[in-house]
Amino acid sequence: MSRAVAGAPFRRLAVDGDRLLAAVCLGVPTLGLMVFFLYPMVIVFLRSITEADGGYGLANYAEVLGTRGFWRATRHSMEMGAATTAISVFLGFIIAHGLHRCAFRGKSLIRAAIVLPLLAPSLVQGLGLIFLLGRNGLVNRFMGTDLDIYGFWGLLIANTLYALPQAVMIIGAALVLSDARTYEAAEVLGASPWRQFRDITLPAARFGILNAAFVTFIITITDFGNAAVIGGDYSVLATEIYSQVIGQMNFNLGAVVGIMLLLPTVVAYYIERQASKRQEGQGGGAAVPFVPAPAPARDLPMGALSFLIAAAIALVIGIVVYASFVKLWPYRFELTFKHYAITLAGGYSSLWTTIYISLIAATGGTALVFLLGLGLRRAPAALARPIQMLAVMPAAVPGMVLGLAYILTFNSTATPLYLLYGTAALIAAVNFYHYHTQAFLTVMTGFRQLPAALEEAAGSLGAGLGRIAAGVIAPYLAPMLVSAFFFLFMRSMVTLSAVVFLTTPKLTVASVTIMRLDDAGLTSQAAAFSTCVMLVVAAALLGMKLLMRRFGRAGRATGTG
């Protein structure tokens, strides 16, 4: 090193350039996290303790905690969270066990059904249930019943159908790790299928189940869309924030409710992270993947149950698509495109806006997490650790709270940040920082797998950091970058809670339009608009699958060749 510096002065310049570049890699994304995540969160906290006279105090808390509405919403959120979690984890385990531990045909159908809820805003389950079980639903119309789906039960079903796929994926990821040889060893030692399940499968899935429980709990208590569409009088914390802020224009009280929603989410998220770590510590990877042998006594009931649950998920979304083409639900079932002629709420302009915003969020977001990963790799541990912690924090913040924090921060003329208010860039930012953690962790997985020798080899050939990043690291990480990109794009297309406060009459997004159409009683048009969003997201998902398959093939080619 010293010889290089002494022998060639221009080399030293290059080294310093590298250092500068590394600092920029770390600095820019960190600054982004500070301005677009940490600062707004501080603001929302400060506003929650700002009193009417401008001083700080706990008067807002006293006021909120003194109202019956708040306690009712809190109780509802906890009840709903607990009930949804219990059912989702139970049913999710059945499907995950069916997919990974049983032998039956048509698993790809179940896998497809599991993906469906990711394609649409979380209010689609509510819409579907209204078409099916609402006052003007199929069941009431043809069975002559008088069901009222609004309220606890409707919301419970909607939340379960929305959260269930997440539970399946998390538990499935825990089950897929186990090694076929372990089961064979147990079999040869004399363990019956039931004992193998009890002694190997359940313990292996333990942390997955715990994880799934906390994730579904967080999803449920922070979700806004289904609660707004089908919750009816059953108020929960997320709808309570909305009514404080939009209904009563009471920002400080909204901030208090936001902080109160933040608390259980942070706790649940913290425990979930610890559980994930334990799971990672345990997983040695499977030497030989488990392939279930047919066992009719187990496969038939498990397969039937799995299909039944998956069918419910698909049915509720499918009925939305179907209803969007039906002339007059539930009376005249001739097919028509008339609901697609949307004029209210800005028509389709919000769809194009959403695609545009999602592209910005995905492109900018992927670039930022890549830079951050690159910077962290070269940063000293004392600096890297707190930044890494900051980078995984956003997942603990409910979308409603982040959205509220944004409007409090960016709709205030106190700072030049006001210039961003009402722009597509700001909505892209809230979407990116809302989903920052997942995108960051995806890319970090790639960085962890990146062999240090690869960088060192390029470095010893004389490549600077910029060259290494572009020519060596980025291609290696391509699959992770692609999945981070599409993840951010798809989430931005459908998210509602974080953006509901940030849309303006001039600038609105697809999920908010769907909510407005539903509010206006134009349920069929809401369904039509939802269908369009699902089409875009499904196309994105397909594009990702095709790209990933190409990576897979390239990876195999280099692996064998």
């Binding site: 372990t182 060893a185 040869v188 030692l189 004399g190 019956s192 002694d199 292996a204 030989v288």
Partner: protein, 351 residues
Amino acid sequence: MDPTRFLDVVRLTKKYGTFVALDDVSVTVGESEFVCLLGPSGCGKTTLLRVIAGLTGFDAGDVRLDGRSIADLPARKRGFGIVFQSYSLFPNMTVAENIGYGLRIRGVPPERVRARVSELLEMIRLPHLADRLPWQLSGGQQQRIALARAIAVDPRVLLLDEPLSALDAKVRADLRGEIRRLQRDLGIPTLMVTHDQEEALALADRIICMNNGTVVQAGTPEELYLRPATRFVADFMGTSNLLDTAQVEALFPELMASRPAEAGVRYHACIRPEHVGLRPDPEGIGTVRTVTFLGNLRRLEVETPAGSLTVETHGSVDVPEGSHVALSVEPRHCTWVIDDMGTAAPGGRVS
């Protein structure tokens, strides 16, 4: 009951679609015998072991234990012990729980399980690891615990599926000794699958050499090494010079006397490198091309007008590269083997 046929695999055939994985295979293991199934990857040895364990079904033949057919018995009722290459300890159980698992399944009272587990931990010399979890252990430790888990239940047959292949050379040698000692002490009939001929030579009472789903030759390690029946066995069991008839006539005509005269069969003379005599001779037929120093011996590539030979010499013969040498082979060191590789698909050469 014939004690040499405690485990008796009779004319077993196993197909995967049109691919014949095991073709009319018969194998026996005696009451306290250590038998190795040796062959290149894909020869069917692991399939055979899995069929015996009851983990894989088969199409024709029978598997008998102590004179009775166990073909319809599920794996968990056979009372065997098995050890896999990948250790396969139960990740959520401690070492002691892993070893005691089979006993607990059999409903053995907890205090007896505890006693047996500590006895086994002593036996594998890891008593201090009882409360560890598998991921906290090295590969060698995990494999010894897997071995203890398999023998804890006093298995009627011990099945080992490449148990040493995932380990480092040093650990592998240690564990090899351990397996041999335990098997001798306990007298458990043992069948081990391996592709490593050295391992098979060191461990087995008897080696069953397989290729392309059939048994090519079975016998003691000495028999297989010194008297291979076919070219495949000769090639697989260490290094050898395989000379066709024309080469033998040109180089060592005195060996032709022992050549079997069966019509329509191609024979090769198998001569191990250490059995080729060599002395410096300016008029000699061979020219030393390369000399590789291997510590206790030297390996020479010697070129002759009839092809090149590999020769191993101990000690002090001074034959630098380029020098001329005379070659000789004692008739008792020449084995004529059937050429089974010209017609069948060539087996992978692992040596």
